[in-house]
Amino acid sequence: MLRLDKVTKTFGANIAVDAASFVVDQPMMIGIIGRSGAGKSTLLRMLNRLTDASSGEITFDGLNVTALRGVARRNWQSQCAMIFQQFNLVPRLDVVSNVLHGSLNQRSTLSTLFNLYPDEDIHRAIDILERLGIAEHAPKRAEALSGGQQQRVAIARALMQDPRIILADEPIASLDPMNAQVVMQSLRDIHEQDGRMVIANLHTLDTARRYCDRVIGMRDGRIVFDGTPEQLTTSMAREIYGADANFSEATTSTQIETMEAAREMLADIAAQ
């Protein structure tokens, strides 16, 4: 289905992504892990074509994504929804309007100007909100919602696009552990129930282990690990994060159960 062939992105002298290649042959949930600055975001942005690749090729079902221009590129973007760390909603518009933005690829500028969305689209938007458990906030302004709720609005906008792939760029990095769990579970449900491919950049190992079928590890722009969560050993994780023996998964965790362990460990370090 999805094939990346030596995809590279350079910013001046810096190489953000260095010849990334992998193949996905069926819809699955993929977690990309690595330190900040490892090139995870750039990779997702190139998949969505928010950023152009410097060289290499991305193909999806035989379609050369990297070569798309104009209308074809925007059509691809609507097939390949993106979820951001900071939600990227329009704060002053109400929740349903934000979800309806997922259908903009099918709308003309004129009908957007006069806010004329078809009634069935509006009903579908509210149904999606219902599915994500935030329908009661439908008429509120997006800015009035909490972070976790805003991220679910962003997921609803992505679902409104009826995409083949959902890309999530650090979807839980600005959320508390409870909300992080709700958001990750929503993404997992979307994958299992709708059969959509989900690719998520994650900053914690345990989230990737817990929710993903496949984990890709990046370091300094290169893909250094690609396998199942079971294959991801602690020494492999140290390699990905470039950490020494002090590294423990518990310190990077956002899961509630492991938080206690992390706190104890940090206390130990402080005591030393």
Partner: protein
């Protein structure tokens, strides 16, 4: 039990749908009404203006191009003289730009003080905000040409009346724009400085000005551009500068359209020059000196 829960849930969902659709209907109605009012005002206003017009918009429309065509054809015939004209009028241009620069500086300075005095949350005397606002309203309401004419009558013709007139108007205009910018300034640094015992002017100088400086600069430079044009117009009523020369050159039937064209080119070049200069400095102020 489970079925009642589900039915309740479905009922709740239906209510949400119904409420939101009602809201959409209401919004669409308001949107349509706004559009209707817009078109009524647009065509109504145009009709009234056309009705009061001495000549007539539609009958005069065909002659709209006559003046530019006259200027262009005459200037093209005598195109060899253009550089010489430009040199001749450069002195007058400097005088005009000078008037604009001084009045912008003076206006920006007073506008800055007035704006801080009339911004909620920043003012030294919050009770006086309406007073300062009305002062700025008056400064903007009086046309600069009226002030210039009065001052020319009292002080005699020359650049000084024009300068005072433009500075007066600029103070009012920039004061309002500046105060809108400062209203959106983040008050946390101000609070931080207050907690360290800073007085009002210190809090403004260190807490507010650095935040608003790029916007202030861009408004002041836009105003400078407007003032170059204003000071050219005041030349028409005897304030000197390039406006006086333009008035003489562009009267009909004097065969001086080549000079008018040279002056237009000079003014255009000046505006472009200061626009480029202002975007350069604005970028430096917002993004810092390029490494």
């Amino acid at each position: 039990m489970a079925t009642t829960d589900m039915m309740q849930g479905r009922g709740r969902a239906q209510t949400i749908h119904a409420h939101y659709m009602a809201m959409v209907q209401r919004r669409r109605l308001y949107g349509a009404l706004t559009l209707l009012i817009f078109f009524l005002l647009f065509f109504g206003g145009f009709y009234v203006a056309d009705d009061r017009n001495a000549g007539g918009f539609w009958s005069g429309l065909s002659q709209l191009g006559d003046f530019p065509a006259g200027v262009l054809s005459e200037a093209w015939e005598k195109r060899g003289l253009l550089p010489a004209h430009m040199v001749t009028y450069f002195g007058a241009l400097v005088e005009t730009v000078n008037i604009a620069a001084v009045s912008t500086l003076v206006g920006a300075l007073f506008g800055l003080i007035l704006s801080l005095m009339s911004t909620r949350g920043l003012s030294k005397w919050p009770m006086m905000i309406p007073v300062f606002r009305r002062i700025m309203d008056i400064m903007r309401a009086v046309p600069e040409i009226v002030i210039a004419l009065v001052l020319i009558f009292v002080l005699g013709g020359g650049p000084v009346p024009a300068m005072v007139a433009i500075a007066f108007h600029t103070t009012g205009a920039l004061g309002k724009l500046f105060s809108e910018v400062s209203e959106n300034a983040d008050l946390k640094p101000v609070e931080g400085l207050a907690s360290a015992g800073a007085n009002w002017s210190q809090r403004m100088l260190l807490g507010v000005i650095p935040q608003v400086a790029p916007n202030f600069l861009s408004y002041a430079l836009l105003r400078f551009e407007v003032n170059i044009r204003a000071s050219a117009i005041l030349g028409f009523v005897g304030a000197g500068g390039i406006g006086y020369e333009l008035k003489n050159a562009m009267s009909w039937g004097q065969g001086k359209f080549d000079e008018a064209a040279a002056i237009f080119l000079l003014l255009f070049g000046t505006i472009v020059f200061f626009d480029q200069l202002s975007s350069y400095f604005r970028n430096r102020l917002t993004k810092g000196v390029p490494q």
